[in-house]
Amino acid sequence: MTNQIIDTFMRFPVLFSGHPEIAWRADRAGIVLLLEAGSQAVRLQLEKGQVTVLPAEGPMRGWDIALRAAPEAWADHWQAVPAPDAFDILGMVRHGRMRIEGNFAPLMRHLQVVKDILALPRAAT
């Protein structure tokens, strides 16, 4: 399942391009997320209204904040109607299904945009 989740992470730029209402709100946002599913991870960069997915590994490849969850938790987050323990990233932390670590300032500045981007695979199902 981990590979499926990573494949879904890789689709974020395409999914994002189909939602101009989110891109409009994200126009001034700048943040790099580490998205971890089990033992694998990618970096998602949001900059100047563009979403790019980058490798997680490599020299000088930093990120602002990491969202770490089991592949099953990501899959549950993307259900058409997620269960109460998988609906919201902060709720998933509260339910013990996700860890969020790093610099919270950019996340809190752009929290709704980040939530909306991470939920895009849900809308695509």
Partner: protein, 295 residues
């Protein structure tokens, strides 16, 4: 074509709260048993807009929703610019009693949500004779913090946006989109530091785990409710409180989150109506605006 007004009256009430003059915005509809509604932290009385329009309720209850000082269309007290707003348990109870006295309410029912759902526990403990019934939605004596309230008021993060974004995940999926987003809009409109100031009661001053031992539900009936999608006041938090109070009734609501009356009133009414009927007695036919809402 005549104007299409909602059958709701909005007025400003002059009263002293805690010995200071205040100008409070109050909306009301209906006649009968007074039903005083308390909004959540960081929001205002608009959360009860659909309850105010529900004829099955307003035919039996005088529904009253006021904006707390500093919230909505209620002004902060004179001198506000020189103080930090912090809601305390004592001030919150005093405000509710002052509003009841100013409106000359005779043993009202109080319906509160979140901070309002918790303060009804203090009312039940200390002032049961003043109320006909107490209903706490998303109400528990205590729940553990799940974020640092310092993020709600700081110069490098937009207060309105972060307040709404933090609570957005507490709204259950599947409710009417317009109502879910209006619930967020109210949070976007709060004054700087007001949501944080409300949470001083919720997080610091309002641990009511010892207080609830004084509650006697024989003196005033008490209901607690919780939406299954609320991860702030979780159903298990509410149930733990209800089980510690003999006679307290507990209702877990499906497909609802932390703002049941605002995010999806039609679904909320399914749980609220039986409680109100127990208080007022059953109604032969119940029809109202709320019944038209998507659930």
């Amino acid at each position: 074509m005549s104007p299409r007004f909602d059958p709701v009256t909005g007025r400003y009430l002059r009263l002293d709260i805690g010995g200071r003059p205040h100008r409070l915005y109050v909306e009301e509809a209906g006649q009968g048993i007074p039903l005083l509604c308390l909004h959540t932290a960081g929001s205002d009385g608009r959360q009860y807009r659909d309850l105010l329009l529900d004829e099955s309720v307003t035919s039996r209850f005088r529904v009253i929703a006021f904006d707390m000082p500093w919230h909505g269309k209620s002004s902060p007290p004179e001198g506000w610019q020189d103080e930090e707003y912090r809601l305390s348990t004592e001030a919150y109870v005093g405000m509710i009693l002052d509003v009841c006295a100013a409106l000359e309410l005779d043993r009202p029912v109080v319906l509160g949500c979140s901070i309002g759902g918790r303060i009804v526990l203090q009312l039940a403990a200390d002032h049961p004779e003043r109320f006909r019934g107490l209903i706490g939605a998303q109400g528990a004596a205590w729940q553990d913090p799940w974020y640092d309230t310092d993020w709600l008021h700081r110069p490098d993060v937009h207060g309105g946006e972060v307040c709404a974004a933090l609570i957005s995940g507490l709204i259950a999926p599947g409710g009417p989109a317009a109502d879910r987003h209006e619930t967020l809009w109210h949070y976007m409109q709060g004054g700087p530091g007001v949501f944080k100031g409300d949470l001083w009661f919720y997080r610091v001053d309002g641990d009511l785990r010892d207080t609830i031992a004084r509650i006697d539900t024989a003196r005033c009936p008490l209901w607690l409710m919780a939406g299954e999608y609320d991860f702030s006041c979780r159903p298990e938090d509410m149930i733990a409180t209800a089980e510690a109070i003999p006679g307290c009734r507990a209702v877990v609501m499906e497909r609802l989150g932390h703002f049941p009356m605002s995010e999806n009133y039609g679904q909320f009414a399914r749980s609220l109506t039986p409680i109100l009927e127990e208080i007022s007695g059953p109604v032969p036919s119940a029809q109202g605006a709320g019944a038209n809402h998507e659930t």
